[in-house]
Symmetry: D2
Subunit: 284 residues, 4 copies
């Protein structure tokens, strides 16, 4: 597969946006592979993702930004350029439940995820076996009561050493500090085991059981300072009945969690997500 | 189709329950058509629905209760007996949006619902055409600001005159008074246009749009004194995306509402729902 | 809502397509409302739907085609131009089961469908009540054994008189002749009551019951000469179990049929469907 | 969790069945934990699953069969007795795609599956890493063209040595011989990567792509002599669009395959499946 480039653009909606972007690509011989756009009429906002073939494109990838910049300035764009050959560096955080970790690792090994996973961080030893079976370093950083700061200092050290681009909380059962969150704006993906905004906070399956819902869900979202309130990336649900106790809800939910988290990670890696306000646009 | 009888039973879980019930039916020549049971281990509760053929049954339907009563007393049962040939009398309440009403009426006409619908009550004229096309009386009871009591008095008069067993709120956008709710315990079914407990209260589609969820839902539930907190009967969801504005959410949601409400009404009519605590068991 | 125009384009994939189209719109002051495109890499095909505001557009709607034609010729496009204010004329064909008809009529009355429905045609009287409640002429054209040609001649007469653009087979249980099909290429939408290609032909719910499937489906598709093999527009499924006899499959399936058919009709009316080969692209 | 026993019963429907079974359990002090039954009215068949607590039960597990036998004979039952503490021995067969294998192994390690997995058999080396990470013997038995008999002889040797109860084909891409199938009646579970009966045979995702379906599915079923025609245990689907090429169908489908296969395996292990004719009843 040849290399491609992706432009992600957000700007005030106005006439001529598509023409300007398409013309820029065409004049340098770009063959558009995928293009998707969205207007938020209420906010007067235009969002676009365009991906084109770098084979036959007149500009080097390294030149594109400088050449596109004047257009972007003229039209008031916030934009980001990415290369399909760039593999972001992902750290996976996990606690005792390893189903999401194992799922991600298998996808990674199978070549489904276009990223590097240079390390796994956990406050428990449970995921070590799968990490070791793949030769990925597994760092056990315990989070002792009242000493979260110390643990986080070590985590940040590890993330810095490994030049991490994206943090995936694959059922990591600790709340990150605002400092940590601020270091990775829209670059921490969490899986919450309920259909948010229902059942935010602790023990959502217990809450769902108590309420007697007929469907349970899972939600992947970017982490912000406010617990379980960040922009939602993906959600899914599965049917349950009175026959399902809390244990069955947990089991059924875990199958959702794996899928809902892995979709979010994949879309992030493939530069398919644009965040605006408290929402996402996913050009999937 | 021959007539059948249904027993709905709730009691403390204990040995010999099924044996006692099955023996009672067998000794009078009953052929069980369907039986379903559930144990709530946490609460030590046993719930059962059993339906049997009245053809060849040694007891007249009118005798069954008296004969079953001693068994029920001995085992501490709360129970209810129903005949499949009994058609409960249902009143449908509706406001301006008539999609649920039209859906129910069509099912009623097509013979899907084993009930009578002797009247429709509305605070608006919008549903009159469909009522009239079927010859069902349509009572427009306006609910003027500050005069809800007066309107409810008229509604209760209508319900009494028509000996109503079940009230269906098919997008009726008024909150019933505690008095009204108390007259029909577990016999008022409402459709709420969100996946409860997310987005309870007013304008749930607007709330869902603001939050940026990726699925929207609908919930049918029994009405209790606490708004949108009654026992959930059925829920379903449909996928949405950033492409869907509030209007599209409303449209997609309406298709859910029709299905989720009609399932609840049908199950109620067929005596398939047992309420315990804040939950339902649906033997569907 | 102001008027908008839609261009639907199919052509060989090549560089500069988007630039050419976007430039054409921009130079005449067009504000793009929605744009969606698809490349079929295997076939080297480019498909696009672009919708723009006619308010502020420099060309009259009647002038657009002539002005766009040179671009289309140069790039080898097959294309179609539509105005959002044009309401296509739709004939609904139905037999004895009226659930899809009632559903379409309610959406039509509620203003959901941007079309006219000047007539309903049926080989049975069952749908007359709903037609009459809305004042839509209901033509009962009986299809006697061995006299299908005669019936079809009458149907074509009715369709011609009413200048019909789209034929919707809302559970019309007769097979149309090749002549009839040829008169409305990609303009006859049928609802088949199974998940095609499983269970094509007669009595699909019976077939599904015999096979013991755990989900049943419905499929809306354009009608071609080959039975149940036309391009699929939409499909959906619902879960069933051993508890569901054929009657329950029919009931559950009918809820699917209504939704799956109405989506297809709406997308067609909104010019969201492009057919290529035996498939559709739906820009929904 | 205390031990429980399960009775699975199939017999001609007749009065007194439930009474006889419930009485048998009650007279020996059995506390029913779960009971589920089904009547196939068309075939006049009664199917039941009843699970009861062995704590407090007057009979030893080893005595139950002899005591129940007279009742079973009298009522013409085919029946099977199982203990919840019995862990069936499962062999997993896999080829190059390991997603289902990894999924099963993780569930096994997490304690979700009440079975033993004493060996994995493959015609390829791809799954060796996950087997080794858990210490499960991995037998690579190559299936050379024209020498399938030789491979199968070796496989049967392995299955016999390991006293295997259940064979799980976790994307094993070889067709088993009738001899092999006959050795494990209703004890070989396969995952087929389509919504059967659509797209049986080879390359179902390619078939689905060609046909332009809007949903793809997966089906787990018991293996019989006729390819892809055995009794269906579970099915599920996921939505796809024109944006999804064959590769995306494969990816999306793999997530289904894992879930649909693991549900079938779990239900089989928990003695929840009754086969009759070409269908299953799943008491889930």
């Amino acid at each position: 597969m040849s290399k491609s480039a992706v432009l992600l653009i957000t700007c005030p909606d106005q006439k001529g946006l598509v023409a300007a972007i398409a013309h820029f690509l065409f004049e340098h011989g770009g063959n558009i592979l995928h293009a998707d756009q969205h207007q938020d009429a209420e906010l007067g906002l235009f969002l676009m993702r365009v991906e084109w073939d770098l084979a036959g494109f007149a500009l080097d990838f390294s030149e594109i930004a400088a050449r596109f910049d004047p257009i972007a300035r003229r039209l008031g764009m916030k934009w980001r350029l990415a290369s399909s050959s760039h593999r972001p560096r992902v750290a996976v955080f996990v606690s005792r439940q390893t189903h999401c970790l194992v799922d991600l690792i298998h996808r990674y090994r199978a070549g489904e995820l276009g990223c590097e996973i240079p390390l796994i961080v956990s406050n428990h030893p449970d995921g070590r076996w799968i990490a070791e079976s793949c030769g990925i370093p597994y760092h056990q950083v315990e989070v002792c009561s009242g000493q979260k700061e110390k643990a986080e200092a070590r985590q940040i050290e590890l993330l810095d050493e490994n030049r991490i681009d994206l943090l995936v909380l694959a059922r990591y059962m600790q709340i990150l500090s605002p400092t940590m969150v601020a270091r990775f704006p829209n670059r921490i993906i969490n899986i919450h085991h309920s259909f948010l905004p229902a059942f935010s906070g602790a023990k959502p399956y217990h809450q769902a059981y108590e309420r007697g819902v007929k469907l349970i869900g899972a939600t992947s979202h970017y982490v912000t300072e406010i617990l379980d309130a960040g922009p939602i990336i993906e959600q899914d649900v599965v049917r349950v009945s009175h026959r399902d106790g809390v244990q069955e809800l947990v089991r059924k939910g875990q199958d959702l969690e794996k899928i809902v988290l892995s979709r979010a990670v994949q879309w992030h890696i493939e530069n398919r997500i644009l965040v605006y306000g408290q929402k996402t646009v996913v050009f999937a």
